[in-house]
């Protein structure tokens, strides 16, 4: 299955990439996606994860066609 993964702000700089499509037949959760895209770089403590534009935690299940995002705490306004 194919999943679109996006990184924003300091997370984009930390992983040195903004977006990647991954083929993930063995991937079951948001946490698994992180391991596949980040390799041995640990997930920073206050990382926010979103699945299809809704915040989700690392154990949230992923499915084909999902858009997964990782980003730091928001600082707008």
């Amino acid at each position: 299955m194919t999943i679109n993964v996006k990184f924003f702000a300091s997370m984009r700089e930390y992983l040195d990439q903004s977006e990647v499509d991954i083929d993930t037949d063995g991937t079951q959760t948001v946490g698994d996606v992180w391991l596949q895209v980040a390799g041995d770089k640990p997930m920073p403590d206050n990382t926010v994860c979103a699945v299809n534009h809704t915040q989700a935690n690392s154990s949230y299940p992923v499915k084909d066609g999902d858009e997964i995002a990782f980003f730091p705490p928001v600082t707008g306004g």
Binding site: F8, A9, A50, H53, V74, T75, G76, G77
Partner: protein
Amino acid sequence: MAVIIVEDQFDPWQALQVHQQSHLASGQFGATATFIGTMRDFNEGDEVCAMTLEHYPGMTESQLQLIIDDANQQWPLQDALIIHRVGDILPGQPIVLVGCWSAHRAAAFDACRFLMEALKSRAPFWKKETLSDQSHRWVEKNTDGYSH
């Protein structure tokens, strides 16, 4: 109810005037509460020369719409407007505008503040500052606007 993400500088007072004239029926609303956040030239003790505002297209808009839906469930609003700037921005330029229209002032005041605090904790925007020595830093977190 409107959510607008803008890349170019906007005039908050003109935006409010135009929105009110085109969306609100004269004589219906009694209370308008607004908040405007403007870029300062100092932060955390340092001089700030410029800023870049990043957002998550798609999720940002849907989160702002959810925040407005939340406010509508809590208060009898006649209208609400959120405008947020993205891209490169300079000190003195507006970053965010929140406006609420209601029959009575308690609802307008409370909803305006709720929208602003919800935006700062739930809407995906990130600020990167350029300091006077041309170094860059990401703003790490927003403060709680209800505490003093």
